[in-house]
Amino acid sequence: MSAKRTEAASRRRGLTLTDVLVTVVVSLVLGVVYHLWASVSSLAGLLFIQSDELVYGMWFAASTLAFLLIRKPGVALIAEIAAAHLEIAFGSAYGIQLLLYSVLQGLAAELVFAAFRYRNTSAVAAGLAGVAAAAGSLLADIYYGYVAEYATWLILFKYSLRAVSSFVIAGYLMYGLAKLLERAGVTQSLRPVERKEYDALDG
């Protein structure tokens, strides 16, 4: 029994090809959404100064959705990189910097999930991961876009809008979508098997 348990445990910890492929495909579908979202974002940008930040959280959705579905370490980072890879592969005008952004955002989201020891899959945890990804994008913006040289009120305004939007879209909206997918029954076979489920079999 113990040998079986350790095998199950090692399967639980590492990522299998199935985990990776499902993660990549989830961010690929979101990549299609991103393409449509780009026009939503430019429409939203017409409302007021920096109002496109209101819908910015969608760009962090891949990492939180993938984690909420698969619930394994590393998934959030891979999802972000896969989404960037798709954008780059289809000839985006924003080339290699997407890779830099995706790594920073994915790592930041990953850190939040790690802080909850990959056990917390609530909407709040996902929202916090979204906010962390927004912070990661701020770090990239400082180097890439010199945002530290904006007028101070604009920096605060822009990034608080982005944080709120990340919390709502990458957190609550993706949580809702993950719940819908759970109801549709596609997530059962994705998740790692938990100890108590083995115990239930033993008993």
């Binding site: 299998t16 990776v20 579908v29 000839g91 005008a93 979508l177 819908l180 596609v186």
Partner: protein
């Protein structure tokens, strides 16, 4: 869509090993990020735009079509900085907007840099097939095969997801569903995202199980269908690309157009 991204001419840059090219382009990206003078960014943009048109191996109109996206990138990088950037020598101000000399040139500098980034990224994408890239990463840079084959498989699953999106849209419009203004926007996740995601996840899982059975994820000792050698084309790529960046920086030093210092306030 895939036939669009087939080069008509194959040159040294296409034949260079992606495992050499990728670090080289990341290095170029680093050089461009660390460029803080507007002369240097201007010449970098010019040199890499020229290189993009000369070395991508695509017809002129296709390159121009792809490069037209740079206009938007230029605007989005520069406009906010021009209108709202910090600066002491104010030219014009109205309410929250204040255009100063510093913010104006800083905005232009960001625009030039975004063109340079865009050209470098596009040059890499147009001269590298994703299959070649992942085989090179596996063989030369020891990327685990499960990641490489997952990424390659996902690109093949992509057209199916797009087909499903089209079918779903047609099916909904035939039934007259999804009409009405505000309610439909809220139902968008349920009408489109849910079925597309569910179907794609199921398909990915089936594909992955088949791939695992065929040992696509086997590490260590394995064979590869394509070899990924290092050739003299790699030397040419290193020389030409580093030469291009060096030439741009040298031009900025010898023939400065703007002759302004560091673009940041507190470098």
């Amino acid at each position: 869509m895939r036939s669009f991204f087939v080069p008509t001419r194959i040159n040294w840059l296409h034949r260079a090993n992606p495992a050499v090219k990728l670090p080289l382009f990341i290095l170029l990206f680093g050089v461009t990020v660390l460029t803080h003078r507007i002369d240097a960014s201007f010449y970098l943009a010019c040199v890499f735009l020229a290189l993009l048109f000369l070395a991508s191996g695509y017809p002129l109109w296709k390159t121009a079509l792809l490069a037209s996206g740079f206009a938007l990138a230029f605007a989005s990088a520069s406009l906010t900085m021009i209108l709202f950037g910090k600066g002491s020598e104010v030219w014009w101000s109205l309410g929250p907007i204040s255009i100063s000399k510093e913010s104006f040139y800083r905005g232009l500098h960001l625009g030039f840099r975004s063109i340079a980034f865009g050209c470098q990224g596009l040059l890499f994408v147009l001269t590298t097939s994703s299959t070649g890239l992942f085989y090179a990463l596996m063989q030369r840079l020891k990327l685990s095969p499960k990641y490489a084959y997952s990424f390659m498989a996902s690109l093949r699953l992509m057209p199916m997801a797009l087909d499903e999106l089209r079918i779903r849209r047609d099916a909904l419009s035939v039934r007259g569903a999804g009409k009405g203004a505000s309610a439909s926007l809220l139902r968008l996740p349920e009408l489109y995202a849910l079925p597309l995601l569910a179907q794609s996840i199921r398909r990915a899982q089936r594909t992955a199980v088949a791939m695992e059975v065929k040992r696509f994820d086997a590490g260590r000792r394995r064979t590869y269908y394509y070899s990924s050698p290092i050739t003299r084309n790699d030397g040419a790529a290193v020389l030409v690309l580093s030469g291009a960046a060096g030439a741009a920086l040298l031009l900025a030093h010898l023939l400065p157009l703007f002759a302004l210092g560091d673009m940041r306030m507190n470098p």
